[in-house]
Structure formats: C-alpha cells, structure tokens
C-alpha cells in the first residue's frame, strides 16, 4: 500500500528483519489461534462436546422429554436394555442389513472403480454414478417405494413379465431388509467407487507394467497388485461405509411401514437401531433409555472401526 513497506520486502533487508519479527509473531500465534478458533470452538463445545457428555449422563437417568428432567437411576437403563428383546431384535436387523449392504456395495464399487480406472477418467461418467448420493434419502425412499409398489410398481411388472411373479419387497417381513440393503447399495455404490477410484489412481503405473512384463494376466494382476496396494484406502472406505450403514435412518423412516404406516415395519421387521432409538426418544419420550442405547451403539461402532483398521492393517501402506 505504501512504498516504504514494499521496499522492505526486497531480499537484502528481509534477512535482517526476520529473527526479531518472527519471534514476536510466534509469541502472538497462540492468541491469534484462539481468536480464529473462537466460532468453531464454540460450536464444538456447545453442540458436540457438551451434548456428548450430557448424553452419557442422561443414559444413567430416567430422563423424560415430557417432564424435561430426570433422576439418576444408576445402571438401570443398561439392565433394561440387556433384557429388552426389541433392542436385541433391532441389533440383529441392523447387523443383517449392514452385512448385506456392505457386501454388495463394496464388491460392486470395487468392480466399478477398477473399470473406471482402466477405461476412463471422464467426469461425466463419475458424475452420473455419484448422482444418487447427492439426492436426499427421503426422495430416494419415495422413489423406491413407488417403483417397488406391489400393485402398480414397475419392478413387479417386469418381474411378472419375466415369469418370476410379484414380490412384496418393502411390504414383506422377509424381504424388507434385503430390499433396503439393495436400495442403499444402489445409492452408495457410485460414491464408494469414487473413493476407491481415487485410491487406485495413487498406485504407480510401473507396477502394472512390471506385472504385464512378467506375464501376469488381468485377474492375477488385480489380486496380486491392485488389491494389496489398495488395502489402506479399502480399509478407510469400509470404516466409512460400515459406520454409515449402521446408522441408516432416513431411508427406513420414509420407505417402510407402507403408505401411512409405522416406520420400521411391517411388524418391526425393519426396525433398525436408529429407528428404535428415535422411537424411544421422540415417540415414547424415554430419552434416558434412548441415550443408553446410543452409548452402546457408539461403543460398538468404535470397536468395529478398530477391528477393520486392525484386520486390514489400514494405517500402513505397502507403497511406502
């Protein structure tokens, strides 16, 4: 802005000014950092840290959303939970859902990512594949509710043409969980594939050339080069998708129980853990009990994350 300042920036004088200035700046950085962190720190303290501690506390109380208060009841909620058949049922339903969803989604995404890696880096292809991920889950739920409608849905129409016959899908107690897993696979495969694709791009090309020179075919190259080197990224993708899958909510809330029915249906067949916690907290006002279930879920997710990272040695790369 003024000549004085800009001339000071020339190389000769800069060296002389540096030590004193920098020591001065270093001392002030703590203060400056405090100011820069003020808004985010406030948000973290008030809407993450404090509620997490409060949630933990609530899990030891009989807190009711109706009364707006609760008394300490010790471990009562956790004892209730251990004896609650519906809790174990919802854990089972969620686990089945996660296994089906992650299984299909990861395999398909891996295929998709390898195909993209080999064929194209077109942004259009990637955009199309990732589109369902950007659409609200509520919209996705309504879309499939209609497509899979037992009477008028196009999927059942096609199945009938193929001679397979109509299926209940979201209205059938046996099929609702696999159907939800299928819908979520449709929604997330593209996104997962993009993460894996980015990981594949980091594998040096010369390794493929070396494998080809050694006469390795596509199949062998995939198992011996691609997959081992993709392992750290694969571990992270798995953590992300497994943890996300355990927390399925929007889709179940909108797409199950039929039109106008109770979410989690039919007959609690799709009562995933999030829907059950939500129901206990906001329909029955049992916030203390719901908080206890959320604590158990959080602990479970931490263990699952640890096991995946450990099992796939996700924090170490063979490339380094």
């Amino acid at each position: 802005m003024n000549e004085n300042r800009s001339s000071r920036g020339s190389r000769g004088t800069r060296q002389e000014h540096r030590p004193a200035r920098w020591r001065h700046l270093r001392q002030r950085q703590g203060l400056v950092a405090g100011v820069f962190l003020l808004p985010a720190g406030f948000g973290f303290a008030v809407f993450y840290l404090w509620p997490a501690l409060r949630g933990l506390w609530m899990s030891f109380t009989d807190y009711s959303l109706l009364r707006g208060s609760g008394e300490l009841v010790g471990l009562q909620n956790y004892r209730d939970l251990a004896a609650d058949a519906l809790f174990w049922h919802s854990m089972y339903v969620t686990t089945v859902y996660v296994v089906l969803n992650i299984g299909s989604q990861t395999v398909l995404a891996l295929v998709m990512a390898v195909l993209m890696d080999r064929l194209t880096r077109s942004a259009l292809v990637r955009s199309v594949l990732v589109l369902p991920w950007l659409i609200p889950q509520v919209v996705i739920g309504m879309l499939w509710l209609w497509m899979l409608d037992p009477r008028l849905g196009v999927v059942n129409h096609l199945l009938e043409l193929a001679g397979i016959g109509r299926q209940g899908f979201l209205g059938s107690p046996d099929q609702v969980v696999p159907t939800l897993a299928g819908i979520n696979t449709w929604r997330f495969t593209g996104y997962t594939a993009l993460l894996l694709f980015a990981g594949l791009q980091m594998i040096p090309r010369y390794l493929y050339e070396a494998a080809a020179l050694d006469g390795a075919g596509e199949w062998r190259t995939f198992w011996r080069v691609t997959l081992p080197l993709l392992r750290p990224v694969l571990a992270l993708v798995l953590v992300l998708s497994v943890v996300g899958s355990f927390q399925v909510f929007d889709l179940v809330q909108v797409a199950t129980g039929g039109i106008g029915g109770q979410p989690g249906g039919p007959a609690n067949a799709s009562l995933v853990i999030y829907v059950y916690i939500f129901r206990q907290a906001f329909s029955f006002h049992h916030a203390g009990y719901a908080a206890a279930m959320a604590v158990v879920l959080a602990a479970l997710l931490a263990v699952v994350t640890f096991l995946i990272m450990r099992g796939l040695r996700g924090s170490r790369s063979d490339l380094a």
Binding site: F44, L115, V128, W146, Y191, A198, G199, Y208
Partner: protein, 325 residues
C-alpha cells in the same frame, strides 16, 4: 493490493496458486495395455454403461410418473413414455392448479406447502453453509497455518467428534434447544451445523496444508497481520476449494432429515425433506396420490440436481481421501 504490499518472490507464480490437479490428470488416457485385449475392453465398457443406466433409470421413472395422470397409473399402464403426458401434477404441487383440476387429477387432498418448505430449506441451507464455511475456514487456518502449543491435540479432539453417532448428540441437543426456547426456529435448526462440523474442519485444513506458504511468509514479513493474511491471501487462494466446501455443505444441509424432523417440525420452519415425508404419511392407504408424490419428489431433488449440473465436476473431484492415509 497484491502488487504493493506483498512482494512476490520472482520464482513464484503470480497467478492464483492452482489447487493440486485431480490425480486423474497424471495418467494418460490411452489404454494401459494398448490393443492387447480389445474384446474384453468392449465388455468392460458394456458393464460400466449398464451400471450408469441402472443408476439413471429410476430417475427417469419418477419423471415419467410425475408426467402421468393418476387415472392412467391405476390402469396399470407401464409404457416407457407417460401415457397421457401432463404437467398438472407439477402445477398441483406448486399450488398453481385450480380446485377442479386437483380433483380431476385424483389429488388426495394431502397438502404440500411446497413454496413455504422450499423457502425454509433455502434459509436453513444458506445459513448453515455461510456459517459453517466461514468458521471452519478460520479454524482450518489456525490448525494449518499457526504454530501454537496443543494444536494437534485440539485438532484430534475436534476430529474425534466424527466418531460420535449423530443420534447420540441429537437427543441432548434437542433438550438444550427446548431449554433455550429455540425449537421450531431457524436459529435453533441451524445452530448445531452453523459453527462447525468435524468433516468441514478436516476438509478445509487439508487444503490449507496443500498450498504454499511463500506468499503468506512474504506478507508476514511485510507486516501484514493474521486477519489480513487470512482474508487477503488465504481466502483468494482458496477460492476453488472454498467453493467446493460450500457446495458440499449446502447439499448436505439440504438433505438433512433427522434433525429438522425433531427440531423443526412446525410448518413455519419445516424443510422440504421433512415436508415430503409428512406429505407421504398423510396419504390414504387405499389410493395414494402417486403422481403428486412423484412430482413433489422431482421438485424436492431439483435444486440439488441443478447445483450438480453447474458444479458437478468440483464435487466429483473432491470425493477422495485428501492426504488421509
């Protein structure tokens, strides 16, 4: 300002520093194995194209349904094109159709106050985006550019919030807002996302770590303070990633469902996702208004799709683990 206050070293590019190119750019387009496996390449393309078709077909089908009449649907017509194409459903959802038209179209009477919910969604998403990107960019600057004791510990504390399932904090946050009397207000609705999300802090910190510090060092030596360095150097250099961050924040806020469902169920602040689910559960079981539902569904996803058509490339390129290994 740049030419006088900040002296750019000779070897430094004068143009805004380019955000590292997507990794894809490193690799040439030609097939890795030349012409060695042409037939299998064709098969691979076929599979990829089938996957794209499978991704897009359901979207076509809701559009097709939204353009049909309920009367035509109930005959069981499954033709690829809408049997009697009409825009009446969109007009119904947008409140532009007359009462007779609504009745003739088989409307169930379930009301979707589309414009109100659209307005609410826009207010909510805009509030969240502006607040979140601003405060997370500042936090990212503190984590990536300043040296202070305990920096990494605080950063990992922030990151640890990623491990907390949202429902775990939704219940206490709901209690907090009701104590503050902020339920069913935009302030209360936006507050938990307004100041930070762990993801956004992490995302932006990665970008700050990725750009060169030379310009900042030069400015610092020229006596510029941190607020000025942040606003005049970092923000302009980070324009591209900040835009990406803003788009992501907007889309994520737009799609938010559980929190607005509990904290903003009053129609005055009800967002589109919650409105759609209420519209759905208000349907009669015998004869749901499918065409109206699908028209509402299309309109509910439209803003996100438009944003994606304009900025898709940025979003697609941002999906990866930035340096997180």
């Amino acid at each position: 300002m740049r030419e006088s206050t900040v002296t750019v070293p000779d070897n430094h590019p004068a143009a805004p520093v380019e955000w590292p190119a997507p990794p894809a750019r490193r690799r040439p387009t030609e097939p890795r194995h030349g012409g060695r496996w042409r037939p299998s390449r064709a098969v691979a393309w076929l599979v990829l194209i089938l996957m794209m078709v499978a991704t897009l077909l359901p979207f076509y089908w809701i559009l097709r349904t939204a353009l049909s009449t309920n009367a035509a649907l109930f005959t069981g017509d499954q033709s690829a094109l809408p049997p009697e194409p009409t825009l009446v459903n969109f007009r119904r959802v947008l409140g532009l159709a007359s009462a007779e038209e609504v009745r003739a179209a088989g409307g169930s009477g379930a009301e979707l106050e589309f414009w109100l919910y659209l307005r609410n969604s826009i207010i909510f998403s805009t509030l969240v985006t502006v607040g979140q990107v601003t405060s997370c960019a500042m936090a990212a600057y503190a984590f990536a550019r300043l040296r202070w004791r305990g920096r990494d510990a605080v950063f990992y504390l922030f990151l640890s919030a990623l491990m907390v399932p949202p429902i775990f904090v939704v219940i206490p946050n709901f209690v907090l807002l009701s104590e503050l009397g902020l339920l069913d207000t935009f302030a209360g609705l936006a507050a938990p996302y307004f100041f930070m999300t762990p993801f956004m802090v992490f995302f932006l910190r990665q970008f700050f770590l990725g750009i060169s510090t030379e310009l900042e060092d030069a400015a610092r030596i020229d006596g510029a303070g941190h607020p000025r360095i942040f606003l005049r150097i970092c923000v302009p250099m980070m324009a591209a990633p900040l835009t990406t961050a803003a788009i992501l924040a907007y889309v994520i806020a737009w799609n938010e469902f559980m929190w607005p469902l509990v904290a903003g169920n009053d129609p005055s602040v009800r967002v589109l996702t919650v409105g759609l689910s209420v519209f759905r559960s208000g349907q009669p079981q015998a004869a749901p208004d499918w065409t109206g539902l699908m028209a509402a569904t299309v309109l509910g996803a439209l803003p996100v799709i438009l944003l994606f058509l304009l900025m898709g490339r940025r979003i697609v390129d941002s999906i990866r683990f930035t340096g997180l290994r």
